[in-house]
């Protein structure tokens, strides 16, 4: 170990320390609990500053981690998600009588897990990052420890997550058996020497690893856990869960694909990935139509969105990677915007978050409703929102790789999705307000978070060049 290795992971170290401090402070100075959210948010901001001002040396820790512009890009939206979730979680936890300090500690730990995962250059580190991320999330899912739904969500995520981890670990073991190394680059060299077809061990290992990834990304056919977990988890956790693990995992997948060289994968694997992408888009969007609960609807919409993002991985190349990265950033802001508003609108966590409960809110709580409507249009991919830019870029990548059919299927799937996204707007603005007044009005930090997301949705939709440049810089490092 040398000092520059330490400097390269300074943001992660900071977050781990701050997470531990928060957990301990909860036990020893409970009077400070109301400040925990601010501390967690500030830590994430500080970590982001460290990442942007710190060095990007590439491979560190003997090749276990890669700290490159791609990692910086992913860290940025992971940390942005942490800040936003920390802001909306405070009022939410206070309201639902669940103000325990562990929340923020676990939030920071899971963020570190995601950041490690997205930087992993070794299969073992992939596993470690994934476990740190997941185990923290299992607790967060079940954070309403008196609520059956929340416990169910935590339990389901634990069982399915453990299963996925086991698959991934088994896959890693097989790959290690075949190649004698955990390093992605070294694995790639072995694969390049012997074609996949004649190497059943590698083939089986990759298939199992892919299944493990698929579970975490909630891609069809590994998606069944998502609706229940989304619905049952505390809403700020759902917001985090819906963007951060997926964002990190998809980047890991992109790193694996890049390391193994797409050419080696082309004949069989890309059609397989394309099938998964299409199936996720179609199933996610069709089933979302039937949902009556906003969180379940967003769960199915999330399945579809990972399908769109996967199109970028299938197309690969520079355009595809840029598309994926922009997609993940876009998905982060629009999904967190949606969940922030849903958490502000829900009166009680024991009741389902019915879409019909949104009736007439558009005229009573204009600002939050506007944000939610904007998030819906962005998720539906209607300009001038960042969701449109993201979809445009992945579809463009597909067309440029001669996969125009993928783009056609993608736009048809988004056509289907418009129906249920627009239905939310319909309830917000075109249904009369029910007589009962909302018992709860959101405090200003929630509005600030929602406003920031709304600004990002439109701002990055109209001026996407900044985001695009960052994504291009990040994508270049992976293709070098």
């Amino acid at each position: 170990m040398n000092p520059s290795d330490l400097a390269a992971v300074a943001p992660e170290l900071l977050l781990v320390v701050m997470g531990a401090v928060l957990v301990l402070a909860d036990a020893f100075v409970p009077a400070l609990r109301p400040r925990f959210g601010a501390v967690a948010g500030a830590s994430a901001v500080a970590a982001a500053i460290l990442r942007w001002t710190g060095p990007l040396p590439g491979a560190v820790w003997s090749g276990a981690l890669v700290v490159d512009p791609l990692a910086r890009f992913v860290d940025s939206y992971i940390l942005a998600a942490v800040v936003l979730v920390a802001v909306i979680a405070g009022p939410y936890l206070a309201r639902t009588a669940a103000s325990y300090g562990e929340f923020y500690g676990l939030l920071l730990f899971s963020a570190v897990g995601a950041m490690v995962l997205a930087k992993a250059d070794s299969l073992l580190v992939v596993f470690i990052g994934l476990e740190l991320l997941s185990i923290s999330l299992y607790v967060l899912n079940a954070f309403h420890r008196d609520s059956g739904v929340s416990l169910e969500a935590g339990w389901k995520y634990l069982v399915v997550g453990a299963f996925a981890s086991a698959l991934l670990l088994f896959g890693i073991a097989l790959l290690y058996g075949a190649t004698g190394t955990f390093s992605l680059a070294a694995t790639a060299r072995v694969v390049a020497e012997r074609p996949l077809a004649g190497n059943p061990l590698v083939l089986a290992g990759l298939a199992l690893a892919l299944a493990g990834f698929g579970f975490k990304l909630a891609l069809v056919p590994f998606h069944a856990w998502a609706p229940d977990v989304y619905q049952g988890s505390p809403t700020p956790v759902t917001a985090f869960l819906s963007v951060v693990p997926k964002g990190a995992m998809l980047v890991t997948l992109a790193r694996v694909v890049a390391a193994l060289a797409p050419q080696a994968l082309t004949p069989k694997w890309l059609p397989l990935l394309a099938t998964i992408a299409v199936a996720s888009q179609v199933l996610g969007n069709l089933v979302a139509i039937a949902q009556r609960d906003v969180k379940r609807m967003l769960a199915y919409s999330g399945i579809a969105h990972m399908g769109y993002a996967l199109v970028g991985v299938v197309a690969f190349g520079f355009d595809g990677l840029v598309g994926v990265l922009v997609y993940l950033a876009a998905y982060t802001v629009m999904n967190i915007a949606a969940f922030a508003v849903v958490s502000a609108f829900s009166e009680s966590e024991d009741e389902p978050h019915l879409i019909t409960d949104l009736a007439g809110q558009g005229w009573r709580r204009p600002f939050l409703s506007f944000t939610l409507a904007l998030a819906m249009f962005s998720l539906a991919g209607i300009p001038p929102t960042v969701g449109f830019v993201a979809k445009f870029l992945v579809f463009r990548a597909a067309v440029n790789q001669g996969l125009a059919w993928l783009a056609v299927v993608g736009v048809l799937a988004s056509f289907v999705s418009v129906f249920f996204y627009v239905r939310v707007v319909y309830y917000l603005y075109m249904k009369p307000l029910p007589q009962r007044a909302p018992a709860y009005l959101e405090p200003w930090p929630v509005r600030v978070a929602a406003g920031a997301c709304a600004l990002a949705i439109v701002g990055l939709g109209i001026f996407p060049s900044w985001l695009l440049n960052a994504a291009e810089t990040a994508a270049k490092t992976l293709l070098r």
Partner: protein
């Protein structure tokens, strides 16, 4: 103001003002009405300035603006105006203040939302007419969707939700495939030249391979994707079913903009994109579109004739009129295309006026059923006169605008497609039948219903909204050259005549 910012100013003024109004308090309806009206008038003035600076002899885009936007992808913020877009921009800028004046009283609930939606819609329309980058065009094209959804869905009639959702789904069904087609077009251009671009002028140079058949012909497929989006918007029979619902359920102002301007984007798109970008596919698809156009002309007229609801009648008359425009475009001569372009303006004026006037009696009686009226000429003389002018303009009386457009389309198309013209001409007759029978039943029949005896005549505000429309109906009818000369070189350049 420097010239190179003029088009941006035209496009962005309504939208920016709309966004600023978003932060005004809900109760300040008076302020919101005035500011939105002034913003639309300012846009009209700017459009007039653009007209004064426009050189009709020059066929290419003028007042061009080009700014980088996403350079690595080849997307730019490119605006430009030729004679075709100028005419339609003037129409849009003229109709928008009329919409605000006409809804001054009739929209009293949620005024802020209404004016903001209208202003954003105007930005979308103007941007789509002036964009010379396909990506930018698509952004503006879709930008129109959301405000219109709100206008129909929030301020509309009884079945507004159904109509609003139908409008959104129909529009998107076409435009999403167009998005893929736009991307593919850029891909083709890159394959041929090695540079990424979405600029319209560049795309004109991309020769899309024709291939064999339909499914193996890139050009046919791209043509179809663009044409589907535009045909739904026009709407061309049999894709018109969203139109009667949307027009009927929308509030008066929404109907005026929808019929007056939004439908024109469909025919504009066919002329601007399908014709020059996919010339061979255009040629091959001509018989199909001519057939659909004349079916639309006759079918729309017959269905209009059978309507009991005045607004629905006017809505179906749009199907007929738009059929004429499509006929003119696909007939493909300079005369017929010029006629089609002029008819776009005419239809905007006459149908806009008719929706405006139907809204006037609806505000008073809260019904649009023809049977609820009769003999109005005795109690509302001014109104009767106005309605008569709009009707005569719509059915093409010589001396008013409608005649010039239809005449140019039919004479221009006749040498090449006499059979189609013969069928279409019956539509002219049917148009007179259903419109004049409407006038007879509403204005001349006995004044049988008590509630109609005390109807007040046009207020000065309603007359003010109608006056500019009548003025231009007469101007175009008497001296169409003012407007035809603007677009002639541009049309010649586009269709190579």
């Amino acid at each position: 103001m420097p010239t190179d910012f003029l088009l941006s100013a035209i496009v962005l003024t309504p939208g920016v003002v709309g966004l600023l109004l978003l932060v005004t308090p809900r109760e300040a309806a008076r302020l919101q009405r005035w500011v939105s009206l002034l913003a639309s008038l300012l846009t009209l003035v700017l459009a007039a300035v653009a007209w004064s600076r426009f050189d009709p002899a020059n066929a290419s885009f003028q007042l061009v603006e080009a700014r980088t936007w996403l350079p690595s992808v080849g997307i730019g913020y490119r605006l430009g105006m030729d004679g075709i877009s100028l005419v339609l921009v003037l129409l849009t800028a003229l109709l928008q203040p009329i919409v605000f004046i006409s809804s001054w009283r009739s929209i009293h609930d949620k005024v802020k939302g209404y004016v903001v939606a209208m202003l954003l819609l105007e930005t979308g329309v103007l941007g789509a007419f002036l964009a010379t980058d396909l990506f930018l065009f698509y952004v503006f094209w879709e930008l129109m969707l959301v405000p219109m959804y709100f206008i129909i869905g929030v301020w509309g009639g009884e079945r507004r939700i159904y109509a609003a959702v139908k409008f959104v789904l129909f529009t998107l069904a076409g435009s999403l495939l167009m998005l893929v087609a736009i991307i593919y077009l850029s891909f083709v251009f890159h394959a041929q030249t090695g540079t990424w671009s979405f600029a319209y002028e560049d795309m004109l140079r991309a020769a899309v391979p024709m291939g064999q058949g339909f499914w193996h012909s890139p050009q046919m497929l791209l043509f179809a994707a663009f044409a589907l989006a535009f045909a739904i918007k026009v709407p061309i029979f049999p894709l018109h079913t969203w139109l009667p619902d949307a027009h009927t359920e929308a509030p008066t102002g929404g109907s005026i903009i929808l019929a007056g301007v939004l439908l024109k984007l469909g025919t504009y798109g066919l002329l601007r994109f399908n014709r020059p970008l996919f010339p061979e596919a255009w040629h091959r698809a001509t018989p199909l579109f001519l057939t659909l156009a004349v079916i639309g002309i006759v079918y729309g007229a017959l269905v209009a004739w059978a309507q009991k609801d005045m607004k629905k009648l006017v809505a179906y008359s749009s199907v007929t009129h738009m059929g004429f425009i499509v006929l003119g475009l696909f007939a493909g001569t300079v005369t017929s295309t010029q006629g089609a372009l002029l008819q776009m303006v005419n239809h905007g004026l006459s149908t806009g006026a008719l929706f405006l006037l139907v809204g006037v009696v609806y505000d008073r009686r809260h019904t649009r059923m023809i049977e609820d009226f009769g003999g109005l000429a005795a109690v509302m003389p001014l109104y009767t006169g106005a309605f008569l002018i709009a009707t005569l303009s719509s059915i093409g009386l010589p001396g008013l605008n409608g005649f010039v457009g239809e005449f140019l389309i039919l004479t221009g198309a006749f040498p090449r497609h006499p059979a189609f013209v013969a069928v279409a001409a019956t539509g002219v007759v049917l148009g007179a039948v259903y419109m004049l029978s409407l006038v007879r039943r509403v204005f001349w029949n006995p004044l049988a219903i008590e509630a109609n005896r005390s109807l007040p005549d046009l207020t000065w505000r309603e007359a003010l909204a109608f006056a500019p429309l009548a003025f231009f109906m007469v101007w175009i009818g008497v001296h169409p050259g003012t407007f035809l000369s603007l677009s002639e070189t541009a049309v010649r350049r586009l269709i190579g005549g």
